[in-house]
């Protein structure tokens, strides 16, 4: 199972195992990692699953496009070049060890 390392807004690190095909959002929420709200449950409608992908992983996840990109423009926390909506990042073996920081406000 690919692992995800999340830094929650309280500064704690959480390492969780993801199912291949599950999103980063889903994995974090199911394991009770604090900080991701995910009001719409991954429907790309709420922008409350905002994360910053660590620089070294951005090439593997890719950057936000189209609708996701527009939603991020208006997210509650600062928009950065490595901002993603975590419900749109699907886990694969290639993403094992993915590091993300959960945005401080959702």
């Amino acid at each position: 199972m690919p692992k995800i390392i999340l830094r929650s807004p309280d500064g704690n690190l959480h390492t969780v195992d993801a199912r291949v095909g599950a999103s980063v959002m889903e994995t974090a929420v199911k394991h009770g990692v604090p900080g991701i709200v995910a009001e719409c449950g991954g429907a790309l409608s709420c922008a409350t699953c905002h994360v910053y992908v660590s620089g070294s992983c951005l090439e593997r996840t890719g950057t936000a496009e189209d609708f996701e990109d527009e939603m991020l423009d208006d997210a509650a926390a600062e928009r950065r070049p490595n901002s993603r909506l975590s419900c749109q990042i699907r886990m694969s073996d290639e993403l094992d060890g993915l590091e993300v920081e959960i945005a401080p406000e959702q």
Binding site: R19, G21, A22, E26, V29, K30, H31, G32, E39, C40, G41, A43, L44, S45, C46, A47, F67, E70, M71, D73, D74
Partner: protein, 416 residues
């Protein structure tokens, strides 16, 4: 009786029931928390049932709201297949005893109702034929998903969100799809005419047939399976699959047994308290004061409401301060169309259309007494976010400027 069992009992293991349990734990509540739910599944998301799950893009495990070990870690006792049949309150106290249909007794000293809603049944002959489906829970969706590969002609009864979403999934699979709606327009209860007209055109453009002002008088069948849908003008639409989405009824039986005030739903105040202030209720089962016009009671059926009201209910159970209420919002995905709704448009007396509906990217802003109350944004996330923000601040957007697509809506937000 086992006294260790007292604590909070939450009846209903859906979005609202789970939300109450989580909020209690987050607030530092350490007494036992039990969620008792009728269904076989742990709390899961319903919205994908008519969208990604139905389309086969998501499996049942994806639907679950929390992993199993979450309940253990948070010491939330989750009982599945545990339908609460009866509740008796202790004299002069908030506590009492609930009994499940298998006879198990659960003691509690605090009680929350999160019993949700059930789909309204189509009251016509033939509604129990094979091939006639409702869409509320995982077994419904599993069955429907299993029937789609065999189906050729699908009739969707009801032009609300769930019916239209299911129609879009069936049409995307290449099936012949007809949507039958009693009213003269789609989404008549929830949206303004331009949105209704837009969705009619969008579904027709994608190859579905939409019949408005048409009511179903019977479902015809042969050898126990549905073969057609009979309309009041005598037309029979051939069908091997019928999907019924004609709204929901809040589940209020237990509340009525407890003598709580009920209308269409369980009546609660803005702190999610029922007419017995020791008992709270949240989610689809409730009827609550409108956030802007508290004299009006409304039923909201959305994930956002269930989640938000659950937090409020938990705070009330603990006699804590009432959390800030969030702006109501909703979404619906139909084929490649993303509708996002901020606020509550019911009761609007004016609206402004921003953008060109034919481009499938536009927004309708709703006003009441000159005040911005809601927006339906079609493939327009910036507009949605701007209106949601404006409503959150109690601000408005001047209707005279709102149609100008050359100006970003967020720059037009004005404090009132």
């Amino acid at each position: 009786m086992d006294t260790a069992e007292t604590g909070t009992l939450i009846i209903g293991a859906g979005e609202a029931g789970l939300g109450i349990a989580v909020a209690l734990r987050n607030a530092g509540y350490t007494a036992p928390v039990t969620i008792s739910g009728s269904e076989a599944d742990a709390p899961y998301q319903r919205p994908p049932l008519s969208k990604e799950f139905l389309a086969g893009e998501m499996d049942e495990e994806n639907l679950l709201l929390r992993a199993n070990n979450f309940y253990q870690d948070k010491e939330i006792r989750l009982l599945t297949n545990a339908h609460i049949e009866d509740i008796v309150l202790d004299d002069n106290a908030a506590g009492g005893t609930a009994t499940t249909s298998s006879g198990t007794e659960i003691r509690f000293d605090r009680l929350a109702l999160a019993t949700g809603a059930s789909p309204r049944r189509l009251p016509v002959p033939g509604a129990d034929l094979d091939g006639v489906c409702y869409l509320r829970d995982i077994p419904d969706a599993r069955r429907l998903r299993g029937l789609l590969p065999e189906a050729r002609r699908v009739v969707v009864v009801g032009g609300g969100y769930i019916g239209l979403e299911a129609a879009a999934v069936a049409r995307t699979r290449g099936l012949e799809v007809t949507v039958v709606e009693t009213f003269e327009r789609l989404l008549q209860r929830v949206a303004a005419p331009p949105i209704s007209e837009f969705f009619r055109a969008a579904h027709e453009k994608r190859g579905a047939r939409v019949l408005l002002g048409a009511s179903v008088t019977a479902l015809q069948g042969s050898a126990g399976s549905v073969t057609g849908v009979e309309l009041s003008d005598g037309t029979v639409l051939p069908a091997d699959l019928v999907i019924i989405g004609i709204g929901v009824e809040p589940r209020i039986e237990l509340a009525q047994k407890l003598g709580l005030d009920c209308g269409r739903g369980i009546i609660v105040d803005d702190a999610a308290r029922t007419s017995n202030p020791a008992i709270v209720a949240a989610g689809d089962c409730t009827m609550q004061p409108h956030p802007l016009y508290p004299g009006e009671l409304i039923c909201l059926e959305s994930v956002q409401n269930a989640a938000d009201q659950a937090k409020v209910a938990a705070a009330s159970l603990l006699d804590g301060p009432r959390p800030e209420r969030a702006v109501p919002w909703f979404w619906s995905n139909q084929a490649d169309i993303r509708l996002q709704i901020a606020g509550l448009s019911a009761g609007f007396d004016d609206y402004v259309i921003r953008g060109e509906p034919g481009s499938e990217q536009f927004t309708v802003l709703y006003y009441r007494g000159g005040r911005l109350i809601a927006a339906d944004a079609v493939n327009s996330p910036h507009d949605f976010m701007a209106v949601k923000r404006a409503l959150g601040k109690g601000a408005t957007i001047d209707p005279a400027d709102a149609a100008n697509v050359g100006v970003q809506l967020k720059t037009l937000i004005r404090e009132t």
